[in-house]
């Protein structure tokens, strides 16, 4: 903001600084421009978050006064809930698979498609379309693909002469099946971030290395990847926050089943907090989710900061 002041001073040709910025002229626009955003944000984003914290210490059904203080009982209920462990574990699996399979795949595609060309553009668009699709639609498409009677899985089963299970109703297969949908849906998004990073590398750098006879994959490993480190950090961040809020995709696919084995944190919150209007219980889940998000955000800023330093 100091630069604004100094540039105004130089333009007006005076070296003195006693400009009154809070003059009447800027007060009226301020009173017009800021309150709508501040009001909406406070009422519908910040206050509910604070309420979640309050509710989490009470036993409340949503009606009447909030009086029944229960300390940390709600947190205990959540942590000892039969399905909470599964939900957390599933969310962690989503993170792990994203980092170990989805992001490398996205990088592989980005490296192949970062240079300009028509067929390259077509492929990029194809890879990106699932990301634009509503999760609900993607989930229903794959529910069909996985359908054990009419979908594509039994057809693959016929082809290899095996009777394949109803994957979405099978405790063992349901998580890998969901992971495949997640990769299908989101890898194009990460690819786009990487492509933007790769295209910002000055071509002289790559050209120079190439003329020096550096092998292609050595260029990728030693030049390209380090130079797009911040893009990688960003996509890791999105993978983790995406995994933490995964909901829309799970509902049409399994609704958390079979036997509650495919819950994520948010479907758990929905199933056991929202549908039963257990505000204290839901509040405790919200607070834990919030803390997890804040930790992720702090680590992310640190990493990004380090990336910009190097």
């Amino acid at each position: 903001m100091a630069s604004v002041a100094s540039s105004i001073d130089t333009v007006s040709g005076s070296a003195v600084r006693p400009r009154r910025y809070m003059d009447r002229k800027s007060l009226v626009p301020l009173l017009l421009f800021l309150p709508p955003a501040l009001l909406l944000f406070t009422v519908f984003v910040v206050l509910p978050m604070i309420d979640a914290g309050t509710f989490s210490f009470f036993d409340w059904t949503g009606y009447g006064p909030i009086t029944d203080f229960v300390g940390f009982d709600n947190y205990e209920d959540v942590i000892t809930h039969r399905n909470f462990g599964t939900a957390v574990r599933n969310s962690l699996i989503v993170v792990a698979v994203s980092l170990l399979i989805q992001l490398p795949l996205a990088m592989w595609a980005a490296i192949a498609l970062s240079e300009r060309g028509t067929h390259v553009n077509i492929l990029r668009t194809i890879f990106f379309v699932p990301y634009m699709l509503a999760e609900i639609a993607a989930g229903l498409i794959w529910k069909f693909v996985y359908d054990g009677n009419y979908g594509l899985v039994p057809i693959i089963g016929d082809a290899i002469g095996q009777k394949l299970p109803f994957v979405l109703a099978d405790k063992l297969w349901v998580i890998p099946a969901i992971m495949l949908v997640i990769i299908w849906k989101y890898f194009g998004f990460h690819m786009m971030i990487y492509i933007a990073g790769l295209q910002s590398i000055p071509s002289e750098v790559i050209e120079a290395a190439r003329l020096d006879g550096v092998k292609k994959w050595k260029i990728v490993w030693h030049i390209k990847l380090p130079m797009i480190w911040s893009a990688i950090v960003v996509s890791v961040f999105f993978s983790i926050t995406g995994a933490l809020q995964l909901f829309d995709l799970i509902i049409p696919l399994t609704g958390g089943g079979p036997q509650n084995t495919s819950h994520t944190i948010v479907t758990f919150l929905y199933q056991f907090g929202i549908l039963r209007m257990k505000l204290g219980f839901g509040g405790a889940v919200s607070v834990m989710l919030f803390i997890a998000c804040v930790i992720v955000a702090i680590v992310y800023r640190r990493l990004l900061f380090r990336a910009e330093q190097t």
Partner: protein, 285 residues
């Protein structure tokens, strides 16, 4: 490029992308396309046909399921509801967040940094986090089962990201322009309306398209707040339809196809803005 001449005389660095890489790209492309392809054709097939002829063309192109859905009670109405909510969200969000970003970028006042940091807090956590207290809040304000309620909440949750994008863009505008206007006794309101906004059409398009897609696809908020069928958005409509027809897949696939088509058409038109919003927001954020 003064390398020893090659037999073909072409440029030396030809194989930047190897055949193997191309092969994997085509495999991935097939993996992406096949579910869409079978969905689109599935709406024309009989249920038995799905099993015996999954990839081939349907025996008949009778569009009866599609017309039934289009002229049925839910499809058009739910699309209309979604459209209304998305347009409302985009207009309000663009206006409110660009005004706030303008104030932060061009008006110097005490607490500006603090307030901007406050409004960007929303980037920290997803909207699903406090959905239950949000539900209570909307109930107390009488916003349940109303499109307006969804619009307002979606605008509130879009603010952080939109303000960030607008602010990044407004900062880059030449300061001299604003200063000159101020010299000529042009108030901030007029600067905002007549100078900043017209210069910022690209970023308005980006933010607008972005919020439009987010609103169009949103599921959790309408799911929790809407309870009258007539108010349902299309994701709720399609879930209800699916629940109603169980495993009558041809019918569901037809409904899916009809629901996806407008989104894909929109995406192909607006793709540029979506990508610049993603990468711009992501890289600068």
């Amino acid at each position: 490029m003064s390398a020893p001449p090659l037999p073909t005389g072409t440029k030396r660095r030809r194989p930047t992308v190897s055949a193997f890489q191309w092969f994997t790209m085509l495999v991935i492309a097939a993996f992406i396309i096949v579910p869409f392809y079978t969905t689109a054709l599935g709406g024309f097939k009989e249920i038995g046909e799905l099993r015996v002829n999954p990839f081939g063309l349907p025996a008949s192109w009778d569009p009866v399921r599609f017309t039934e859905i289009i002229f049925g009670p839910t499809y058009m109405r739910s699309l209309g509801n979604s459209l209304f909510i998305a347009v409302g969200t985009v207009i309000l969000s663009t206006l409110i967040s660009s005004m706030a970003a303008f104030a932060f970028a061009h008006i110097k006042f005490f607490g500006s940094k603090f307030l901007m940091g406050y409004l960007l807090l929303g980037l920290l956590f997803p909207s699903a986090t406090a959905i239950l207290p949000l539900f209570i809040k909307m109930r107390d304000l009488g916003l349940l089962d109303k499109h307006l309620g969804i619009i307002i909440v979606q605008v509130a949750f879009s603010l952080s990201f939109s303000i960030l994008l607008f602010h990044n863009f407004f900062k880059e505008l030449p300061k001299e322009l604003i200063d000159a206007a101020r010299m000529d006794n042009c108030g901030y309101l007029r600067i905002y309306w007549y100078i900043t906004l017209p210069l910022c059409l690209p970023i308005i398009a980006t933010v607008g398209v972005f919020n439009f897609v987010g609103s169009w696809n949103s599921f959790l908020l309408p799911l929790i707040t809407l309870n009258t069928d007539a108010n349902y958005t299309w994701p709720l409509g399609i879930m209800q339809f699916q629940g109603q027809y169980g495993s009558d897949w041809p019918r569901i696939l037809a409904y899916l196809t009809l629901s996806i088509l407008p989104a894909i058409a929109f995406f192909l038109l607006a793709q540029r803005y979506i990508i610049s919003g993603l990468t711009g927001g992501a890289v600068k954020g």
